[in-house]
Every structure is written in structure tokens, then in C-alpha cells.
């Protein structure tokens, strides 16, 4: 007997899925697939071509500067040769690998897109999914601001086509902060410290290590840079205003270039007509060292996490032996579905099915009829009428299965509608 209640303990154990993974079925599954394909459709319409890579690969493909997930957060196992394998935590490194492998000599645009499940071992009882579906796109061999803006615009369009209406995309630049750190001459440790504080928007902490003389780990930074670091949390929105402020205080080339690039990107997004969905955020940092250019994240109500992320990573393909710049985006479908369900944006009946019940003697007519209706685009479920079931049983069944229409073959050429 079970510890808590009387239940067959053997069958209950194999009925469960491990923490962090889940079954998706019924309307949830139909909605998810609909959104997935809608997003893929948008990516295809922008010229991105599908690619599939293995679910597991060698650990080294994702490790260190090539990945976005810490080693201890990957699901690892060994092959027979005792190599470490991991379930892919992220799709960008495998695609960089493919680009280096299959398009070694291509020096013009490469556009690839994918639908893939990714796996992150976040630990127990954290309330987070460990397997999520991502639909994403990677654009290689184009380092223009046009490519940057197109990827942001593409993210907007993907979210709109999936049915989301109320969302914001924040765009920052990885080099902005790196340039400031470079100019301030901070050590790696100091920079990491500062980054962590800014990352968690802990600006009293930033103020503390910049201005408070009593603080043990005080940084020695010029007044001009101090002012920039302290103003970072406010640098969201009006790019022109901050640009002036920063340019008066910093002469670092990377900082200036980052600002100029963001300005161009902002202008081009305007051409796409998506300015309302996009906000520039200079305080945005990336915790992944592989981002080298613009970075962006999409937020909406109803979920505590970003529904889409992206950015430019010009060094990644180089890790695999091809000198190519790249920029990518990924829509996290599971986060998006959660937000959409909380915003009541999902249909209960994505697929409007029809049941066609036929007595044995009208089988040929029923199969023919079903074939005809399927060609017309209907979703037909055939059931041979059982002698143990009455018309009401089929009606009840349809209700349970969320199917609106039940038809029954009355004769060779007569179909009656039950529901």
C-alpha cells in the first residue's frame, strides 16, 4: 500500500514524469503546434531555411565561451568511448558548428531556422521547465546594422503572428558595458563584481562600490565614468538623450561605436514600422561572453521570464574554425504559451473535428464520404457503430473529446446529424 493513500503504487510511479518535464496534450498541444508553425512560417517567409541537429552532442560544443548554460546545468552522460555527451541546452552552438562544417567557404548570407527542444538541468522544485521548445533563426555572414534591425523586427513579427499583442522588446549592446569597463581599467574580478550588481539592477550596490570610500572593494574610476555607471538604470528609452550624456564623458571607441550602432538599428526598425514594440536599454548586459553586438529580449505579461531572446555573436563560428559573424533569435515557445494562456489568447478548439459513425453495412459509403470530406479540409474521425453503444453514447463521447459535430450514416446515401 502507498504511504499516503490507497493506490496501486507500482502503476502510479510509472504514470509520472520526472520534475521539470511534462506531457502536452489536447488543446494545449494543438495550440502549441499552431504557434510553433506560425513562427516557423514567419521565419521561412524571411528566407530562413530549416535545419535539424542531433538532440545530444559532445559536451565541448556547448562548454565555456561557446554556450549560454553553465556546465553543471547540462544533462550529461557518457558514450561507449567514455566521451561526455550532453542534451543540447541551446541551439546556437550546434548551428555554428554546422555553418563551419557545411558552409566552410560561403561568405555571403546564410539563413537557418529551427524548431527544437532544449534541456537545462535547473534542479528540483524550482518551478521551472527543464525541457522547452525553441523556435529560432540564425543569420550568418552579415554584420550590417540592417541585419541587426531585421532580426529585431523579425522577433516582433513572430510574436505578433503567434497572437501576442502586448509585449516589449528591449535592445541593448554587449560592447557598451565592455567598453566602459575597458576605459575604466577594471580588473576582471572588479568588472565581474560590477557586472553582477548591474545585472541584478542593484544600483545602491553600484553606488556603494563607486562612491563610498568606506566600502572595502571600492573601485577607482574616473568621475566621468562614475556618472555613466550611476546613470545606467535610467538609460532606457530615449537613445539620443543618453548618447549625448555618454559621449560627453567617454571617449572609448567601443562605447561610441555601440551607441552609433544602436542609433542605426533604431532608425531601421522605424522603417519596419515596429518602433512601438522596441525600447533601447543601455543598462542591458549579457551574461554570456559570446555576445559581441546588439542583444535583445522580449517581455510580456503573465510569465516571469523573457519569451524571446537574441543577439549578435561574431566570434562563435570562429570557435568551430570558420571566420563568420552571426546574429540569432530564439522564441521560447513554452514561455510564450504560458503568457498567452494567462492573457486568454488561446482557442479551446484549434481543430474542429467531426465524428462519422457508421453501421457495418454502410462501411463503403462511409469511407468514401469521409475521404471526400477530408479532401474538403474537414477533420473526420470514423467509428464503426458498436451494438453496445447508443446514439447518446456517441454524443456524450463527442462532448468529452471537445468535438462539435457527430454524424451518423443512416443509409448508403443519407447522413444524419446527431449533434
Amino acid at each position: 500500500m502507498n504511504k499516503y493513500f490507497e493506490w496501486d503504487s507500482v502503476s502510479s510511479e510509472i504514470l509520472h514524469t520526472p520534475g521539470g518535464v511534462k506531457d502536452t496534450y489536447g488543446a494545449d498541444c494543438e495550440n502549441k503546434l499552431k504557434v510553433q508553425y506560425a513562427v516557423r512560417g514567419v521565419l521561412n517567409s524571411y528566407g530562413f531555411r530549416d535545419i535539424q541537429t542531433p538532440t545530444f552532442e559532445y559536451f565541448d560544443v556547448f562548454n565555456k565561451e561557446r554556450g549560454t548554460v553553465a556546465s553543471k546545468e547540462m544533462f550529461k552522460f557518457f558514450d561507449r568511448g567514455n566521451n561526455t555527451l550532453v542534451l543540447r541546452p541551446d541551439m546556437t552552438p550546434p548551428i555554428a558548428r554546422c555553418v563551419a562544417k557545411y558552409y566552410r567557404d560561403e561568405d555571403m548570407q546564410l539563413r537557418l531556422c529551427y524548431i527544437a527542444n532544449t534541456f537545462v538541468n535547473t534542479g528540483k522544485y524550482k518551478g521551472k521547465l527543464q525541457e522547452v521548445t525553441q523556435v529560432g533563426a540564425e543569420l550568418y555572414n552579415d554584420d550590417s546594422s540592417d541585419a541587426d534591425a531585421e532580426m529585431v523586427a523579425l522577433t516582433v513579427e513572430c510574436l505578433l503572428k503567434s497572437g501576442l499583442t502586448d509585449f516589449q522588446i528591449e535592445v541593448g549592446h554587449a560592447d557598451f558595458f565592455c567598453g566602459l569597463v575597458e576605459e575604466a581599467g577594471l580588473s576582471e574580478f572588479e568588472a565581474a563584481n560590477l557586472r553582477e550588481l548591474i545585472e541584478s539592477k542593484n544600483f545602491f550596490g553600484v553606488e556603494d562600490i563607486l562612491t563610498n570610500n568606506a566600502a572595502e572593494d571600492k573601485l577607482s574610476v574616473s568621475e566621468n565614468l562614475k556618472e555613466i555607471f550611476l546613470k545606467l538604470p535610467e538609460m532606457i528609452g530615449e537613445l539620443d538623450e543618453f548618447t549625448e550624456f555618454v559621449k560627453m564623458r567617454s571617449k572609448n571607441e567601443r562605447v561610441i561605436n555601440a551607441l552609433d550602432r544602436l542609433k542605426k538599428v533604431e532608425e531601421i526598425i522605424k522603417v519596419y514600422g515596429f518602433s512601438d514594440y522596441v525600447t533601447m536599454d543601455l543598462s542591458m548586459l549579457s551574461n554570456y561572453s559570446y555576445y559581441t553586438g546588439i542583444i535583445f529580449k522580449a517581455y510580456t505579461y503573465g510569465t516571469g521570464e523573457a519569451v524571446a531572446t537574441g543577439g549578435r555573436y561574431d566570434g562563435l563560428a570562429g570557435q568551430f574554425g570558420k571566420d563568420a559573424n552571426g546574429i540569432g533569435l530564439a522564441i521560447v515557445i513554452d514561455h510564450l504559451m504560458l503568457a498567452m494562456s494567462r492573457q486568454n489568447l488561446l482557442d479551446n478548439d484549434v481543430i474542429k473535428g467531426i465524428i462519422l459513425v457508421y453501421p457495418q453495412e454502410f462501411r463503403a459509403a462511409a469511407i468514401k464520404k469521409a475521404e471526400k470530406m477530408r479532401k474538403e479540409g474537414s477533420f473526420i474521425q470514423l467509428i464503426r457503430k458498436s451494438s453496445h453503444k447508443q446514439a447518446d453514447d456517441y454524443k456524450e463521447y463527442a462532448k468529452r473529446m471537445n468535438i462539435e459535430e457527430v454524424l451518423i450514416m443512416e443509409s448508403e446515401d443519407k447522413v444524419e446529424k446527431l449533434v
Binding site: N202, F204, G205, I236, Y301, G302, G304, E305
Partner: protein, 216 residues
């Protein structure tokens, strides 16, 4: 659907909550419902201003905020460090001040300095582990306890403890003392990453107003 017109606060039960409500009242955010001591309700609403409040166990506050069930949380820095959740830590509320310390009998000092294996009891295993492994580089056996941690060195469960110290009187009464200081602590306001973006204006104003009240 969580209505976007509300901003939801998760407050750590007890002194912190009381103090926080006092601060919020100073900037014009009140919740009359919450002042009723006999109420058994779990969530309180100020319809007019669009705020919701609930009380939860301190250790759960970072969870509510990280997963977006609450937009804003108020909780001690000890809990934030221990839980290690992804949050925006936007404001030092400047109350509930104390220190995270290594404490024990004076005789344990030796073991803290010679790098030998040491047993450490704590309600904060993550903080203890991080301090001993990554900062002190000393191998430690961390023993998680749920309360009255001071007992551990007295009854010989561990050599030292890692715990919050406010005045140090409990330690003194039991023949223990602060051996090393890990970090200062105080109450913090934390914000969910998405809320910070989606409700940027309201939350920024709130932070700004609170900052003014605190520095007064």
C-alpha cells in the same frame, strides 16, 4: 490571467512586513485591510491604487518574485543570497540590519585558520558553502539545521555555525562569539525581471519615492 493593472507585493511575514507597510504608507500607498489583526485572509487589495499584497514565509519571497507570481518582494538579504534566484535587487531599505557571521566557541578559531576539515551547522547551507569553498578555500562539512543553530557547537554537532547576528547577546549567553564576519545584511526590495520592463514607469517611480523616504 494576472491583471496587469495590479502590482503585487510579496512581503516576508513579521517585522519586515510591518516596517515595509510603514514605509509604503509614507509614500501614500496604504492597505487598510491588512491592519485588521484578526483577519485570516491571505491576499489584500488596494483597488484604487492598483496594489495587491500578500504575506509569505521569508524563504518563499524570492520564489514568488522570480517566477512572476509577485512583481515586487521585500525580504532580507540573507534569504536572497541563500536562495540564489534570478531577481533584480533594486533597493536597500536600510532596516533589519544585521550581519552574517561565522560563530562558535573561541577555541574554534584555530580550526578556522589552519585549513583543516571543519563542520559547519547553518540554516544557510548555500551561503556557508560559498563562503568556505570559494572565499576561504577551506573544505567544510555543511550541516543544514532549521532553527536554534547555536546549539550545534554546544552539543558537539559542529565546530562552528554560520548564522545571522544582530546584537550577539544569544551567542554570548551560550558561550559563543563571532569569529568571522561574512557580510552585512538588511532588508531589500526585489523586483521580477519582466515586471521591471513591463511596468517600468510605476515601479521606477515607486523605487524613486521610497529612496527619498529612506534617505530622510
Amino acid at each position: 490571467m494576472r491583471d496587469k493593472k495590479y502590482i503585487t507585493f510579496a512581503l516576508a511575514k513579521g517585522r519586515l512586513a510591518k516596517h515595509t507597510l510603514g514605509l509604503l504608507e509614507k509614500i501614500g500607498i496604504t492597505c487598510e485591510e491588512m491592519k485588521d489583526k484578526d483577519t485570516r485572509r491571505l491576499i489584500f487589495v488596494n483597488e484604487e491604487l492598483g496594489f495587491k499584497f500578500f504575506l509569505s514565509k521569508a524563504t518563499d519571497v524570492p520564489t514568488y518574485v522570480e517566477l512572476g507570481a509577485a512583481d515586487i518582494g521585500v525580504v532580507g538579504r540573507d534569504t536572497i543570497l541563500e536562495e540564489g534566484r534570478k531577481l533584480y535587487e533594486v533597493l536597500d531599505l536600510n532596516f533589519g540590519k544585521c550581519r552574517m557571521c561565522v560563530a562558535g566557541p573561541a577555541s574554534a578559531k584555530k580550526q578556522l585558520n589552519n585549513g583543516s576539515l571543519i563542520r559547519v551547522a547553518s540554516k544557510y547551507p548555500s551561503i556557508a558553502k560559498d563562503y568556505f569553498y570559494n572565499y576561504k578555500h577551506q573544505t567544510a562539512e555543511i550541516i543544514k539545521l532549521n532553527g536554534s543553530v547555536e546549539l550545534a557547537p554546544i552539543v558537539g554537532l559542529s565546530e562552528v555555525i554560520v548564522d545571522i547576528v544582530e546584537t550577539g547577546s544569544t551567542l554570548k549567553e551560550n558561550g559563543l562569539e563571532v569569529l568571522e564576519e561574512i557580510c552585512p545584511l538588511s532588508a531589500r526590495m526585489v523586483v521580477n525581471e519582466v515586471s521591471m520592463k513591463m511596468q517600468h514607469e510605476r515601479i521606477t517611480k515607486l523605487i524613486y519615492d521610497l529612496k527619498k523616504v529612506i534617505s530622510e
